[in-house]
């Protein structure tokens, strides 16, 4: 049976992970390769590395880092952050990334999704969507980390992304992100039921219950988790064992 995926997300700036993890025995908590290897060994199903460097030099360093990650890590990994041209994507693919995650660049120019899918295949293209509810209750996409609201409606955009060849949708509710209060499971379920590609849930989890809920009621295919792992609130083995105990299929 296809398992639900648990995916740690690592933020990288100038080649270093930003949030430290308090693993015993890690020589260098800022080393993205060592940290990713540790998560992989603990049972992560995939990894996501987000480049939050703002400079050209930082992005160059990130590409070199991706090469090291690809050599060291024996599970799939996605890279994202600032990817806006075919050259960006091609450089990261050549460095060994399995998938790229695109967000603002796709909203600015939806044809970018089609071009990536045609050139590299749908399996390479994750479309990340940050959305929030508006006063009339509809969901609208945002850019710039949720600071700028667009006119684009969530479900219409997710559907267009799929039609243009996205292989997965990574949806974050900006209403829930960082709250530790759980996910909007009804919205995830509607997305999952309305699309034929996998949905990754991101942002809002504060407990194992929340993650279990989004994978069952929310019908998400995967959960992307950052601070709960980085802060040591949850470990991958304990999370997966608990999901398994609740009859949620996970790789143990």
């Amino acid at each position: 049976m296809l398992s639900k995926r648990i995916i740690p997300c690592l933020d990288v700036k100038d080649g270093r992970t930003v949030k430290g993890v308090h693993f015993v025995g890690l020589r260098d908590v800022g080393d993205a390769v060592e940290l990713g290897s540790r998560y992989a060994a603990e049972g992560a199903d995939e990894l996501v590395y987000l480049d939050i460097s703002a400079t050209h030099e930082g992005r160059h360093t990130f590409t070199q880092l991706v090469e090291r990650i690809a050599r060291a890590i024996n599970i799939p990994f996605t890279v994202g952050g600032g990817i806006s041209t075919m050259n960006d994507a091609e450089r990261l693919l050549a460095a060994g990334a399995d998938k790229v995650s695109i967000n603002s660049a796709a909203l600015a120019r939806p044809a970018f999704i089609s071009e990536l899918a045609e050139r590299f295949g749908s399996q390479f293209v994750v479309v990340a969507i940050d959305a929030k509810t508006t006063d009339n209750g509809t969901w609208h996409c945002t850019t710039h980390g949720g600071r700028r609201l667009t006119e684009v409606e969530l479900f219409a955009w997710a559907h267009e992304a799929q039609e243009r060849g996205a292989g997965e949708i990574l949806f974050t509710s900006m209403d829930h992100d960082g709250t530790l209060a759980g996910y909007p499971c009804d919205t995830y379920a509607a997305l999952s039921d309305g699309l034929s590609i996998p949905i990754i849930a991101s942002g809002g989890a504060g407990s194992i219950d929340h993650i279990a809920d989004v994978l069952t009621q929310g019908r998400a295919d995967a959960a992307l988790i950052a601070s709960l792992f980085h802060d040591g609130v949850l470990t991958i083995p304990s999370l997966k064992q608990e999901l398994h105990n609740r009859q949620i299929p996970v790789r143990i």
């Binding site: 049976m1 296809l2 398992s3 690809a70 050599r71 024996n74 799939p76 292989g167 997965e168 295919d221």
Partner: protein
């Protein structure tokens, strides 16, 4: 020397990285028939569209070379699909090594993406791999079950997770991305 067949298909880098991790030295990326024939082991990896990939093999005359090889040959993902009879993707005639067809998933989400289990294992390729081991899949088309199926996976329908006929092996999953289980399978292949 291990020959990795180079036919302009993506993601060969990750196969080379995986072979490096298990300490396999002397890997050559090649489309040269003589080099391929001399290799101790041959890998046919690949991602992409079956029709395009088959044309890339034909344009290098590798479609006539590969079926005549006598050393262990391992297809991965599209490489495995090309070793079957036909593919629904692009209505493609393939190499005909494994007596089965490649068809599209009709139910559930497509692509089939993520970790799924192997059952009914039977092949030296899968030595020391436990029943219900998880491996990583990304694909929209699958090999139907046949006499050469050496591992089953279920995704709406049961299909061939791996195949063997004589010295030819194929995995629909990606051993190079399947953690320690995948590395064991690659080691098994190299010890054949």
């Amino acid at each position: 020397m291990i020959a990795i067949i180079d036919y302009n298909t993506g993601n060969i880098r990750s196969v080379i990285n995986a072979l490096d991790r298990i300490g396999a030295a002397d890997c050559v990326l090649t489309s040269d028939a003589g080099t391929i024939r001399r290799a101790s082991h041959v890998l046919l990896p690949g991602v992409g569209e079956a029709g395009t990939a088959m044309n890339e093999l034909r344009s290098r005359r590798l479609d006539t070379i590969i079926p005549t090889l006598t050393q262990p040959v391992l297809g991965i993902c599209i490489g495995t699909q090309l070793m079957c009879l036909t593919s629904e993707e692009g209505d493609t005639a393939c190499l005909g090594i494994f007596p089965t067809r490649i068809v599209r998933f009709q139910s559930l989400k497509v692509p089939h993406m993520g970790w799924n289990t192997l059952t009914s294992l039977r092949s030296p390729l899968l030595n020391d791999i436990s029943e219900e081991s998880y491996v990583y899949y990304v694909h929209s088309f699958y090999p139907e079950l046949c006499d050469c199926t050496i591992a089953h996976t279920e995704y709406g329908v049961p299909f061939s997770g791996a195949l063997q006929k004589d010295n030819f092996f194929g995995t629909q999953f990606h051993p190079e991305k399947s953690g320690p289980v995948g590395e064991q399978i690659l080691r098994n292949f190299l010890s054949l």
